[in-house]
Amino acid sequence: MNFRTNVWTPFTTLVIKEFNRFIRIWVQTVLPPGITMALYFAIFGKLIGERIGEMDGYAYIDFIVPGLILMAVITNSYANVVSSFYQAKFGRFIEEILVSPVPNWVILAGYVGGGVARGMVVGVLVTIVAMFFTDLQVHNYLVTLLVFFLTSVLFSLGGFINAVYARNFDDIAIVPTFVLTPLTYLGGIFYSIQLLPDFWQMASLANPILYMINAFRYGLIGISDINIAWAFVIILFFIAVLASFSMRLLNKGIGLRS
């Protein structure tokens, strides 16, 4: 198998196409999270945060910045793949790819690559915005970048599965609204789970986003409610599960071939 012809060129084509797509509509894709997060930093971080005081020994704004950055990465990675892949299905231009000799795993990797690209662009933008409100330090670059990347991959895969099953535009909004946003808010962005009663601490541990936010917070400021190794195990486990499931959907042609 010629790697360059069969894998690399189709993969980079898909990623470039996706990158061009979300940059072309940057007012809808890149700008809003920048503005939303600036409001979060100003209101929750500065105005209210200064009255809250410290959380786990850190200024409140320093405590919430990692979670807010990761929240932007999660929602944008997910949104990019779910909307792009669904639109390709809806407009039938997914057929451009389906008739081409692109292996299914490259199709998946290409769309995930697009989701990661948007997650990265938005994540960097939000990080720059955060620097206007606090003096951001990085405790561990490797952990920070790995969590940043793997979380983006994971939620891009989630967006892909959502898009495969979606039959109308409502279907691509249901999961982000009713599943992703609540889990993200309850994933310890604004608080340490040490503040919760025992039962709710245990319940919080069932939320995978908690592990990602804490691992990312560890990477940036060096504190976490959970074990970092466990966080990586859980992220990698979910990536493996969702990637396998996505491949199964593609190989069977569910939602794509009659």
Binding site: N2, R4, T5, N6, T9, P10, T12, T13, L14, I16, K17, N20, R24, Q87, A88, G91, R92, F93, E95, E96, I97, L98, V99, S100, P101, V102, P103, G253, R257, S258
Partner: protein
């Protein structure tokens, strides 16, 4: 080696009808082949299976010796598809659509840009290369589909009603272009509802109806089967009733136009002589219906309503 070989191809849609009931079809390399049939006959299903957009229920498909079941990517590499519908991203610039399509076939961007330019120039779309696709006219969108399908130089080009809705001038230029690429070696399979198009372009033909192939032969052989032709004659004098001519069925269309049904065995010479004897001069003559169209209608009608044997 045939460009396409289909054996016992079947498709039953979930909770739906049996769209293909075991069709066999061979298209030789270099052919210009027409796949005709009424709406819902199974043409698009067959094309969908060949291009792996539809899962088959049973049967075998080979493209230039590559088996769809065992070498899917090999099959895909040889095919270019022009679908019925505009299935490109309407918000992308024209040139991007072609460059991306080439990329899916493993062609790198610099090479892809050159190929895109070549195809866009051939199809008179180069000036529109930076236009967002949704702003193109219908005819331009059809040509964009053809340009996109050719950007990786496929050996087998499948066109599913490529000239639907385009004006006659563009249709003619598309015919000319398709003839040219066929002469250059590309095998072409065409489905169309314009039977004049099939008669003009194609050498061989299959007619599919109700999921089965009811005819598969060369166009010339098929047209030889036509036993009768209906002609329209414009005449120089106004007549109030149709002239009576032995062995010909003549009806009056209007005062200066006749419709004549001519058996193949009778020919036209005696018709002209008889009209001349009645002081009627023929100014012009044309087929009332395209010849292939006439045969097509007869065949599909027979396929749907076979002549019942009567007990006598």
């Amino acid at each position: 080696m045939p460009a396409l070989k289909i054996t016992n191809l079947r498709k039953t849609y979930a909770r739906g009808p049996e769209a293909l009931k075991g069709i066999d079809l061979t298209v030789e390399s270099g052919d210009f082949f027409a796949l005709l049939g009424p709406n819902g006959a199974g043409k698009s299903t067959a094309i969908g299976i060949i291009c792996s957009l539809v899962n088959k229920s049973d049967g075998k498909v080979e493209v230039f010796g590559h088996d769809l079941d065992t070498d899917l990517l090999g099959v895909k590499r040889h095919i270019g598809l022009v679908p019925q519908e505009f299935n490109f991203n309407q918000f992308e610039p024209v040139i991007e659509i072609l460059i991306n399509q080439a990329g899916y076939y493993g062609i790198e961007r610099s090479d892809a840009a050159q190929r895109a330019e070549k195809r866009l120039r051939q199809l008179n779309l180069w000036e529109k290369r930076n236009t967002i696709a949704r702003n193109l006219s219908g005819g331009m969108k059809r040509r964009l589909l053809i340009a996109r399908s050719l950007v990786h130089d496929p050996k087998l080009l499948i066109l599913d009603e490529p000239t639907a809705g385009v004006d006659i001038e563009i249709r003619m230029s598309m015919w000319e272009f398709l003839r040219k690429i066929n002469e250059e070696g590309t095998t072409i399979i065409l489905t169309t509802h314009y039977l004049e198009e099939a008669e003009n372009l194609c050498r061989n033909i299959a007619i599919i109806d109700n999921g089965i192939i009811i005819e598969n032969s060369s166009i010339d052989v098929l047209l030889e089967r036509l036993q009768q032709e209906i002609f329209v004659l414009d005449i120089d004098v106004a007549v109030s009733e149709a002239p009576t001519i032995e062995d010909y069925s003549v009806t009056l269309r209007n005062a200066q136009s006749l419709q004549v049904t001519v058996d193949k065995a009778c020919g036209l010479t005696r018709l002209f002589c008889s009209l001349a004897e009645q002081n009627i001069e023929v100014l012009s003559l044309r087929n009332k219906q395209n010849r292939l169209e006439q045969l097509f209608l007869e065949m599909t009608r027979e396929s749907r309503h076979p002549v019942e044997e009567s007990e006598g």
